[in-house]
């Protein structure tokens, strides 16, 4: 496998390398005498891909196995049946899925709206307390909200005695808690991006008589769409997998998220529930996976924006 790859690549080397930047070309050319150079890269590539993909293949196979037990899932694709997927209908799985999507989407939308607004203010207005605000945000974001889960639990007990919808076991309360962490985490990412949008655009709009709100909604937000997508996606994914606060806040089974529910299956009866879990895992991973591959370009850009910005 690797040898054949190696041959085919060496023949096309010159063609591909011609398109590469000059320094890369020269850098590589000086080592070109190692004919096997690309071979081991393929070997590493195949190993890495196998390491990365094996668990995913395994869970797919386990979800299709008819027996639904851990032992029965060990022979990959020995049998293909939809039994586990059908059985999910008899559980609370789809309720959890809906809960997770509702909580994730609401949090993502709220995070983007509030984070972008704050980033706009910090980026475009000069006001007393601006520096202090930015510094405070920087300090606050060092302290992850999840560490305070005991205090969150106690706060929600008190709030629940006043307004039950904001108390324990309420999805709305959980969304509110997540939104509390929105500003600290994302404002800086957005702030940096907002600063790259030329101020001349705002000035021009101002001269044309646009109010600050019109400038914000119709001009700035359009210019920063990529970062909005990244923040929404990151927020959705982190909410999707958040466990500790969801576990503490949501108490009745019909309010659980996927993370809480699937943990319950595996921790209770690992052996018996394995097929169910595998099917559930495949279905819950699919939306995230699809979103991820679809927006891969943005994510990579967003991640590296923080690191290589200089």
């Amino acid at each position: 496998m690797t040898t054949s790859n190696q041959h085919s690549t060496t023949t096309t080397t010159t063609a591909t390398a011609a398109g590469a930047p000059a320094q890369v070309l020269r850098h590589r050319m000086s080592f070109a005498r190692w004919a096997r150079e690309l071979g081991w890269r393929h070997l590493v590539g195949v190993l890495a891909a196998a390491y990365a993909v094996f668990p995913l293949v395994y869970v797919l196979s386990a979800s299709l196995s008819a027996s639904g037990t851990l032992t029965g899932s060990n022979e990959l694709f020995a049998e293909v049946s939809g039994a586990n997927y059908v059985a999910l209908g008899g559980t609370k799985f789809w309720t959890w899925m809906v809960n997770t999507l509702v909580i994730g989407i609401a949090t993502a939308v709220g995070t983007v709206l509030m984070g972008a607004a704050a980033a706009y203010a910090f980026s475009r207005f000069r006001f007393t307390g601006r520096r202090l605000g930015l510094t405070s945000l920087l300090i606050i974001q060092m302290f992850p909200q999840m560490l305070a889960f005991v205090a969150i639990f106690l706060l929600l007990i008190s709030l629940g005695q006043v307004v039950p919808a904001l108390g324990l076991n309420s999805k709305l309360a959980l969304i509110c808690v997540y939104l509390g962490g929105a500003l600290g985490v994302n404002t800086f990412l957005m702030y940096g991006f907002f600063n790259t949008v030329p101020r001349e655009l705002d000035e021009a709009a101002k001269i044309d008589g646009a109010t600050h709100a019109q400038t914000y909604w119709t001009i700035i937000l359009r210019m920063v769409t990529p970062i909005l997508a990244v923040v929404a996606l990151l927020s959705f994914i982190s909410t999707f997998g958040e466990f500790i606060i969801a576990r503490v806040v949501l108490q009745s089974e019909s309010n659980w998220t996927l993370a809480v529910g699937l943990y319950g299956w595996v921790s209770d009866l690992l052996e018996a529930n394995w097929g169910l879990f595998a099917a559930g895992a495949v279905l819950s991973a699919l939306p995230v996976l699809a979103l991820f591959l679809f927006l891969q370009k943005y994510i990579v850009g967003g991640l590296t924006a923080g690191s290589v910005k200089g």
Binding site: T13, A17, A20, P21, A22, Q23, R26, H27, F31, E37, R41, V46, P55, L56, V59, T69, T71, N74, M114, A117, A121, F122, R126, F127, T128, T135, I140, M142, P144, L147, A148, F149, V150, A151, L154, L155, V162, V163, L179, G180, A182, L183, G184, T211, H212, Q214, Y216, F243, I244, A259, L262, Y263, A278, A281, V288, F292, L303, T304, S307, V308
Partner: protein
């Protein structure tokens, strides 16, 4: 600058539609806010009431004043931040200095009431009163007939009050009570548990006692054997004559040192911290867990970074055919939600049935998750699988943005491949990715989900008196000690104190890191 924006905001022609939207939104916010304020008033939660009024006033001032332009954009996020992050962190700090937890859950007056209710005994020689079990909605109630044939009705939340309209049957029991339906024998049997534990207070005063029943046909008056003397602030057990007075721990204590079971929360100074560092039950696991937390976080960053960087460099060869496929396949684990991956691996690493032992190792019996050291190795291994794609992504991005002229200079100076890597690529990569490595460290320092889902902290330490294990990290120790999942007695005070320790560690490391990367200087 600020004056200029103010002028513009003030003089600019408001678009009618935008102003209408603002009015509608603010009306909604005000309506909800007033509702919340009234609810807080009814529930007598003065702290919440004050916070709601403050937020409401702030919102109206910010959105209807012309001098608060920046705040118009910051306020929504700020409000959530203040309540759900700043306040809870501050509250954690307060709870850390109290003995809040099982046995010390409430205020002193609530504790006194609970003690009175819990220590009720049947009053000696009290008459047996004919009793009927009633139901209204979901709530159960009792109707009791006194010696003069008068019927009184009450429930757990509603003390007894006369019900002159009730119809009394031949045996003296009420057969019809307006507003309630009478339960028959079968219904009573069905809800036996609820009926025998139901306590209907005689009056609003907890010392007046209650009516209870064992057979659902006769009720007796129960009164507390404890009496509370408000003036002396003491509890007296009337059956033994023991006098209990409040101590510093928030409990009633007798002269012989025995205490009553329900206490209230008091501030205890640094006692929780002393427990974490000094109590032999906690101190030893705490030190072990602290060390492992650091080891886990550091090793996770190092292993994922090394593998990620290695792959990034391997695939960073433009001649490599199919590298897009390798890249896409290699970053797949990053798209897998962490909790699913950890659960999945916990099954795959299962000692008796897992695919790793059964298939890949041909039926071996390796205790991946149940041996202290192998469990640590497994945790790191799984985290490597989860984390290397992220490092791969950022290293790929950083590699592609490295300046080409430096490499040329190195080549001219005759630097070899290894030398170039060690003196140029590696340092530049580290500089570019340092902030992300720091945040990766902070993330793994609190990677609760992975530990909880993969090993649940296990294998447990030999000392079974504390719910802790060899792979527990600080955050999962906090979770277990807090007792919020019901497996251990609740100790919010100790849990919060441990949270404070994590806050300090993470805060110090982040501060040092930010200083290093001079992020603060970018602010202006």
């Amino acid at each position: 600058m600020s004056s200029r924006t103010t002028v513009v905001a003030g003089s600019g022609t408001r678009s009618g539609a935008g102003f209408a939207v603002k009015l509608v939104l603010m009306a909604l916010v005000d309506a909800l806010g007033v509702f919340g304020v009234l609810a807080a008033w009814r529930a007598e939660s003065w702290g919440i009431l004050a916070a709601m009024v403050a937020l409401l006033v702030a919102a109206n001032w910010v959105y209807f004043s012309r001098r608060t332009l920046p705040l118009k954009y910051v306020l929504p996020g700020l409000a959530f931040l203040l309540v759900y992050q700043v306040y809870v962190i501050g509250y954690t700090g307060y709870v850390a200095f109290t003995n809040y937890g099982d046995g010390h859950n409430s205020t002193k007056s609530q504790a006194i009431e609970a003690l009175l209710v819990q220590n009720e005994r049947r009053v000696e020689g009290s008459p047996a009163e004919p009793l009927t079990v009633l139901e209204s909605g979901d709530e159960l109630g009792f109707a009791v007939t006194d010696e003069d044939g008068r019927v009184e009705v009450g429930s757990a939340t509603q003390p007894l009050e006369p019900a002159p309209d009730a119809v009394v049957g031949d045996d003296g029991r009420a057969t019809q009570v307006p507003g309630w339906s009478v339960l028959d024998r079968a219904q009573v049997l069905e809800r036996q548990q609820e009926v025998t534990t139901l306590r209907v207070p005689v009056s609003d005063d907890a010392e007046a006692g209650s009516v209870r029943t064992q057979d659902a046909r006769t009720g007796y008056v129960f009164r507390s054997v404890l009496t509370y003397d408000e003036a002396a602030d003491t509890m007296t057990d009337t059956s033994t004559g023991t006098v209990y007075s409040p101590n510093d721990d928030g409990q009633f204590e007798a002269a012989d040192g025995s205490t009553l079971p329900v206490g209230w929360r008091v501030t205890v100074g640094f006692e929780n911290f002393a427990t974490a560092f000094g109590d032999p039950r906690y101190a030893e696991p705490f030190v072990q867990i602290l060390l492992w937390t650091f080891a886990f976080a550091i090793l996770s960053v190092v292993t994922t970074f090394v593998l990620g960087m290695f792959l990034a460099m391997v695939f960073n060869d433009p001649r490599l055919r199919g590298r897009r496929i390798y890249r896409t396949l290699s970053i797949l684990p990053y798209a897998m939600p962490g909790f699913l991956a950890a659960l999945l691996w916990s099954g795959m690493l299962n000692k008796s049935f897992g695919v790793i032992n059964q298939v890949l190792l041909g039926g071996a019996d390796v205790p991946w998750l149940t041996d202290p050291w192998l469990a640590k190795l497994s945790v790191l291994g799984v985290n490597l699988w989860l984390g290397f794609p992220y490092m791969f992504l950022i290293c790929t991005g950083a590699l592609q943005s490295l300046p080409g002229d430096v490499y040329e200079a190195a080549k001219i100076d005759g630097a070899g491949r290894w030398r170039t890597w060690r003196s140029i690529t590696m340092p530049l990569l580290l500089v570019a990715t340092a902030p992300l490595l720091i945040s990766s460290f902070a993330f793994n320092f609190n990677n609760f989900t992975l530990i909880k889902m993969l090993t649940n902290g296990g294998p447990r330490f030999d000392d079974a008196s504390v719910p802790l294990g060899h792979t527990d990290i600080l955050i999962s120790m906090v979770y277990n000690v807090s007792g919020l999942d019901g497996t251990a007695p609740r100790d919010y005070g100790l849990a919060s104190a441990l949270s404070i320790v994590i806050f300090v560690v993470v805060g110090v490391i982040s501060a040092l890191a930010f200083r290093q990367t001079r992020k603060l200087e970018e602010l202006s």
